[in-house]
């Protein structure tokens, strides 16, 4: 394991789940919960005679950024694509619930605590959703995570970080959509249906899953930024994700509702304007929507360095 200071400049994309977790919080503050030494492996993979991991492909724990306790969930794409099973799902659900309980405890025992001293949850997504080897348990875990996200609202901000190789798809695609804030890098991808499945449904002419540029144009961080589906687009370093997280940790807690894309009747009405636009435009490519949003030269914009992109890109107004 690298020293903490050297982790920061590392590519978020190239790092593994534990490096991301360690680098996101302050040096020496991370305590892993149900870590690999506990050896809580998947009994179902074992039943099938498959290889197991001691952390079941997900790192969960608590650290600090400044004064803020940060509950971290970091999925590992190198183990069965980051897919969620019973153990990993329970670690995820248990961590969000622990953050809510922790916030309740602080509210009760430390009535003068500042917002900065109250917990947040950071989830680094790297997953296609349900682990098929234990599909039913994985599916039920997804529903539990959604339930915890609603319970966390107005109490514990939940921040999605998406900049991993696998991206965030399947059931975890809507879990991410349901968080308070989404931070992506340009290499992060967010959606529901993965490219291969769309190709299968619509045919290769309509959607060629091998066309990497098309895949990124449809679900990548830059597109999601233009759509307003991710709140912040950052450089592909652990330091950049960490800096965004640190800034959010200081935000007054009531401000997080304003960052949501969904979660109220008003927001549903707003999203429906986007759906009406989709019906009207029937875009063949995401770039059609970029142009509609006020970006006349989407090709150059897509190639601009991230900082320039952020300065220049017009986001879809709904």
């Amino acid at each position: 394991m690298s020293k903490w200071s050297t982790l920061l400049s590392r590519s978020f994309l190239e790092s593994n789940a534990r490096e991301r977790a360690l680098g996101l919080v302050d040096d020496g503050t991370f305590t892993e919960l149900v870590g690999p030494f506990d050896r809580r492996t998947s009994p179902h993979l074992e039943t099938l005679g498959e290889a197991v991991e001691f952390d079941d492909g997900i790192v969960t724990g608590i650290g600090k950024i400044g004064k803020t306790p940060v509950f971290v969930i970091s999925q590992e794409g190198r183990f069965i694509g980051g897919a969620v099973g019973e153990v990993g799902g329970a670690k995820m659900v248990g961590t969000i619930k622990a953050a809510i309980d922790f916030a309740d405890r602080i509210a009760k025992d430390y009535p003068n605590a500042t917002d900065e001293e109250k917990p947040i949850v950071a989830i680094s997504f790297e997953t296609g959703g349900v682990r098929l080897h234990e599909a039913n348990a994985g599916l039920l875990a997804h529903a539990e995570v959604m339930d915890q996200l609603q319970k966390a609202r107005h109490k514990v901000p939940v921040i999605a970080l998406i900049g991993s190789k696998v991206g965030c798809f399947g059931g975890m695609g809507f879990v991410a959509a349901a968080t308070d804030v989404i931070v992506m890098s340009e290499f992060g991808r967010l959606g529901l249906t993965g490219p291969e499945v769309i190709e299968q449904e619509m045919g290769k002419d309509e959607f060629d899953s091998a066309d990497r540029a098309l895949v990124y144009r449809t679900t990548g961080g830059r597109h999601k930024y233009v759509m307003g589906d991710c709140n912040f687009l950052v450089e592909d370093t652990i330091a950049a994700f960490r800096a965004q997280l640190a800034e959010l940790a200081k935000l007054p807690r009531e401000k997080f509702e304003e960052l949501r894309r969904i979660g109220s009747e008003v927001l549903v009405a707003k999203q429906l304007k986007g759906v009406a636009l989709a019906a009207e435009m029937q875009p063949k490519d995401s770039r059609d929507v970029w142009v509609h949003a006020g970006n006349p030269d989407p090709v150059s914009l897509a190639l601009a360095p991230v900082a320039d992109f952020r300065a220049q890109a017009k986001r879809l107004a709904l």
Binding site: H44, I62, E134, N136, L139, A177, T218, A278
Partner: protein, 296 residues
């Protein structure tokens, strides 16, 4: 009648009081545009004399604007329409006590979420996420929510329409009901194990097998209803039980996704989950002081 697959409206008629269902109105909200989210059926009915919101799928509808939406698929419009029906229910009863908040009955028969390019460009994940958050909000606000699986409850679409309910009931698989992420044949191909081996393993371990019986063992289905004409009584009974739990304040631990976790342990299908959560809590307790306000 040997199946209700594709017959959401028929099922509404069988569950609710005769001729009580009024489609497209929930509280103060009306859905006037027939071309909006046609795959989703929303409205208000009476169940045992009490007002309920009903949300179902229409397998015969085709969404002209979004051609991936047919056969009961939940597309973007459908997901948001369902969410609107939930928010309208919350709004209509916001002054009511938990004893009187209207129940939501979810009639489940959906094969999936809209899998298209336009859907991904505009964010299908937000529509299904929005509906789930709305259901969770209604459940936590005190509305009893009971899902009745009458046909297909497949993967993400079941997460969207069903798995946020307080209680989930399913017709027996003899009526063709399907609850799964993928059929065992597909799982067999992906995990590279013979179907015969998987079928044998599934007898002792329900986590990858398809069907209501296996979900029931995992706590994912509260009750399997063995006859179609037993649905109405079962839904009435479960709405009453959930309402009693909400009035008593015990719903948090016993209903919804979290309550089904406990049920999964009780039925021995998901034994590891509670152990992992308990371990996480005990490990946190040992270090918690380092993260409380004022600690260094």
């Amino acid at each position: 009648m040997d199946t209700l697959i594709g017959q959401g409206r028929t099922a509404i008629g069988l569950i609710c009081d005769p001729d009580s269902f009024v489609e497209n109105t929930v509280g103060a909200k009306s859905f006037d545009d027939p071309s909006f989210g046609p795959g989703a059926v929303v409205g208000t009915a009476k169940l045992d004399g009490k007002t309920v919101t009903v949300i179902a799928n229409d397998a015969d509808a085709f969404n002209e604007k979004f051609p991936v939406v047919y056969a009961g698929i939940i597309g973007m419009e459908e997901g948001y329409k369902m969410a609107q029906a939930v928010y309208a229910s919350i709004e209509a009863d916001k002054a009511e006590s938990k004893a009187n908040k209207r129940a939501l009955v979810l009639v489940v028969d959906t094969p999936g979420n809209g899998p298209g390019k336009v859907e991904e460009i505009f964010g299908m994940n937000k529509a299904t996420g929005a509906y789930q958050l709305a259901l969770a909000e209604a459940r936590l606000a005190g509305h009893p929510i009971v899902a009745m699986v009458i046909g297909r409850a497949i993967s993400g679409a079941f997460l969207c329409h069903g798995l946020q309910a307080d209680h989930i009931l399913s017709l027996d698989s003899k009526f063709g009901t399907m609850i799964h992420v993928m059929p065992l044949t597909s799982i067999s191909r992906i995990v590279k194990k013979d179907i015969e081996i998987l079928e044998k393993l599934a007898e002792g371990n329900p986590v990858f097998a398809a069907g209501p019986r296996f979900f029931s063992k995992l706590g994912g289905v509260e009750e399997i209803v063995t006859e179609i004409d037993g649905m109405r009584d079962a839904v009435i009974r479960h709405v009453a039980a959930v309402r009693a739990a909400k009035v008593a304040g015990t719903d948090g631990e016993t209903t919804g996704p979290w309550g089904r976790g406990a049920l999964g342990a009780e039925r021995a299908g998901r034994a590891v989950r509670p152990e992992v959560i308990a371990l996480l809590q005990s490990e946190l307790a040992q270090v918690a002081s380092r993260y409380l306000p004022g600690a260094n």
